[in-house]
C-alpha cells in the first residue's frame, strides 16, 4: 500500500528540491561571489563593516517595529470589540476582504489619496506639517504599510480573543477585579498566542517590503527588501543582493523563533 502512495510523492519531492531547497542553497552560494564572478567573503565583510548597510538594517528594523506596533495598537481593541459584537462572522469576513485586494491597488489608491494636491496633504501643509508634501515621507510609508498589514494583525488577535471563555471574565468581575485588572491578568495573557502570530505575520513582511517603499516612500526609504531588489534588478550586484537576502532569511528564522508558541512546540 505504502508503495502506491510513494508514487504520488515524486512530483512533490521534485518541487521541494528544485523550488524550495534549491533556491535557498543557490542564494547562499551566490552570496559568496563578487560582481565580477570571483569567489569572495567580501560581501559579508562589506555588510558587517559598512555603516551604510548597518544603518539600512537598523532603519529597516525601526520601520518594521513601528509598523508592527501601530497595527497592534489599532488592531487589538478592534479585534476585542469584534468578539463582543453580535455579528462576529460578518465582521470577520469584512476584515478579511480588504486583505485579498491586491497590494498594488491599495498602494496605488494611496498615491492618489496622499498626493500633493489632495486634501490630506494640503490640509497637513496648511497646518504647517509636511509642507514639502506628505506622500514621499517616512510617516506616509509607515501609515500605508500599517494599513496594508492591519487585516493580517486583526485575524489572529480575533481568533485568540474569541477563544477566551466568557465565564473567565465574568468570574474575574465577580471576584472584584477592576476592568484594568481583568484585562491585564486575564485577557492579555490569554491572547498572547494571537499577539505572537500577529507580530510574526506583520513584522517579517514589513522588513522585506519593496513595493510600498518604492511607491509611497519614494526612493528614499531603503529597507532590506528594497536593497535586495535594487541589487538584483538595478545595480546587478547579485552577490551583495544575495548576502542581504541570506541575512533577511536568517532574521526571519530568528523572529519566528522568538515569537514561537512554546506550548505547542511547532509554529
Amino acid at each position: 500500500m505504502n508503495k502506491s502512495y510513494q508514487r504520488l510523492s515524486v512530483p512533490y519531492y521534485l518541487w521541494l528540491i528544485v523550488f524550495v531547497v534549491g533556491p535557498i542553497l543557490l542564494l547562499v552560494y551566490q552570496s559568496f561571489f563578487d560582481i565580477h564572478g570571483n569567489v569572495t567573503l567580501g560581501n559579508y565583510i562589506k555588510y558587517f563593516t559598512s555603516w551604510n548597510y548597518m544603518q539600512m538594517t537598523l532603519n529597516s528594523f525601526l520601520f518594521a517595529f513601528l509598523i508592527t506596533l501601530l497595527t497592534l495598537v489599532v488592531a487589538y481593541p478592534f479585534a476585542y470589540f469584534m468578539t463582543r459584537s453580535k455579528r462576529k462572522d460578518l465582521w470577520l469576513l469584512l476584515v478579511i476582504l480588504p486583505a485579498w485586494v491586491n497590494l498594488l491597488l491599495k498602494a496605488y489608491a494611496f498615491i492618489g489619496i496622499l498626493s500633493k494636491d489632495g486634501w490630506i496633504a494640503s490640509t497637513l501643509a496648511s497646518l504647517g506639517f509636511f509642507e514639502e508634501g506628505f506622500l514621499f515621507s517616512n510617516t506616509a510609508f509607515i501609515f500605508v504599510a500599517a494599513y496594508v498589514e492591519l487585516p493580517f494583525m486583526i485575524q489572529p488577535l480575533y481568533q485568540a480573543l474569541d477563544a477566551i471563555p466568557e465565564r473567565y471574565i465574568i468570574a474575574s468581575q465577580d471576584l472584584g477585579a477592576s476592568a484594568w485588572q481583568t484585562f491585564h491578568r486575564i485577557i492579555w495573557p490569554l491572547s498572547m498566542d494571537g499577539v505572537r502570530s500577529g507580530v510574526q505575520t506583520v513584522f517579517i513582511p514589513s522588513l522585506s517590503m519593496f513595493l510600498i517603499t518604492r511607491l509611497i516612500g519614494g526612493n528614499r526609504i531603503i529597507t532590506l527588501g528594497t536593497a535586495v531588489e535594487q541589487h538584483y534588478l538595478v545595480t546587478q550586484d547579485w552577490g551583495m543582493g544575495s548576502t542581504i537576502g541570506v541575512i533577511l532569511v536568517l532574521l526571519m528564522f530568528l523572529i519566528m523563533n522568538l515569537t514561537k508558541d512554546r506550548k505547542k512546540g511547532v509554529a
Partner: protein, 270 residues
C-alpha cells in the same frame, strides 16, 4: 452570554472599518471621474473604461495573466493534492514534520527572497528563458504549498476506517483514490484551486523578478504605470481587478460555508 459593546466601541469598530475600505472605494469612485486626477471629482464618465478596452496591449496582458493563473493553479492543484495525500500517508512523525516545514517555508519566505532566488535558479540551473515559462513555473511553485494547506485538513477530517475497509475489500490503490479519497477531499481541492488562482493573480513581487522584461502580468503592468504617476485608466483597471478578486473570494467562502454545513462536528484546524 454575549455582552454588547459600548457606544465608543461601536464607533471605533465602524471607524476602522471605514478606514479599511476608504482607499478601495476611493479608487473605484475616481475610475468614473471625468477629470484627470484623483483629487477632485468633476463628473461621471465611462471614458477610462472605454480606453481600457480599446488598449490592445493591455488586453493581451490580461489574457496572459489569466492564462498563467489558470495553468499554474491547475498544475499546482494536481501536484499539491498528490503531495498532501502523500504527507497524509507518511507514518513517521519526524518525516511528516520535515515535509511540512519544507511546505511552509515558501509560505513564510519574503516575496523578494523567493523572487531573487528563483531568478538565480532560472539563470543558472533551469534551462528556461525568462518570460512566460519562468513566470508560469514560479507561480506553480508558490501555489503548491497553498493547495497542500487547503487539502490536508480535509484528509485528516476523513474517517480512516474507510480506507482500511476499502483495502480489506480488495480495492486497488487507484480505486481507493478514485472512490474514497478524492470524493472526500474534493471541497479542499476546489478551495485550493481558487486560493492558488487568487495568489497567482495577486502576485507582483515574484513575477517582477522573473519576467526578464519581455513578459508582463497585470500587477507588474500596474506597478510600472503607477510609478509614472496617477492615470485614471489604472483606476478603471484596478476596479476590474478588484471585482475579479471579489468574485474569487466569494466563491472561496461559499465553498467553505457549504463545507462547514455538511461537516458539522468534524471541525478540523486549518
Amino acid at each position: 452570554m454575549q455582552r454588547s459593546n459600548s457606544l465608543l466601541a461601536k464607533i471605533y469598530l465602524v471607524l476602522i472599518f471605514l478606514i479599511l475600505y476608504a482607499p478601495i472605494v476611493y479608487l473605484i469612485v475616481y475610475s468614473f471621474n471625468s477629470g484627470g486626477t484623483m483629487n477632485e471629482f468633476t463628473g461621471f464618465t465611462m471614458e477610462h473604461y472605454q480606453n481600457l478596452f480599446a488598449d490592445k496591449r493591455l488586453l493581451s496582458i490580461v489574457l496572459d495573466t489569466l492564462l498563467v493563473a489558470l495553468l499554474s493553479a491547475f498544475v499546482a492543484t494536481v501536484i499539491g493534492t498528490a503531495g498532501a495525500i502523500y504527507i497524509y500517508s507518511v507514518r513517521r512523525p519526524k518525516q511528516r514534520e520535515h515535509l511540512m516545514s519544507g511546505n511552509n517555508l515558501l509560505m513564510v519566505m519574503p516575496d523578494v527572497i523567493i523572487g531573487a532566488s528563483f531568478l538565480i535558479l532560472f539563470t543558472y540551473i533551469l534551462p528556461v528563458p525568462l518570460g512566460f515559462w519562468s513566470v508560469l513555473l514560479s507561480h506553480i511553485a508558490f501555489n503548491i504549498p497553498i493547495v497542500v494547506l487547503m487539502v490536508l485538513p480535509r484528509l485528516y477530517a476523513m474517517n480512516p476506517s474507510m480506507l482500511l475497509a476499502a483495502e480489506d475489500l480488495g480495492a486497488s490503490f487507484g480505486q481507493i483514490l478514485d472512490r474514497v479519497i478524492l470524493p472526500n477531499i474534493s471541497s479542499g481541492i476546489l478551495t485550493g484551486f481558487f486560493m492558488a488562482l487568487t495568489y497567482s493573480l495577486d502576485d507582483f513581487a515574484v513575477t517582477f523578478f522573473v519576467t526578464g522584461g519581455g513578459f508582463t502580468t497585470l500587477a507588474v503592468e500596474v506597478y510600472s504605470r503607477a510609478r509614472r504617476g496617477v492615470s485614471l485608466e489604472i483606476n478603471a483597471l484596478s476596479t476590474l481587478m478588484f471585482l475579479l478578486s471579489l468574485v474569487l473570494v466569494v466563491l472561496y467562502y461559499s465553498i467553505q460555508m457549504r463545507d462547514a454545513r455538511s461537516n458539522k462536528g468534524g471541525r478540523s484546524h486549518a
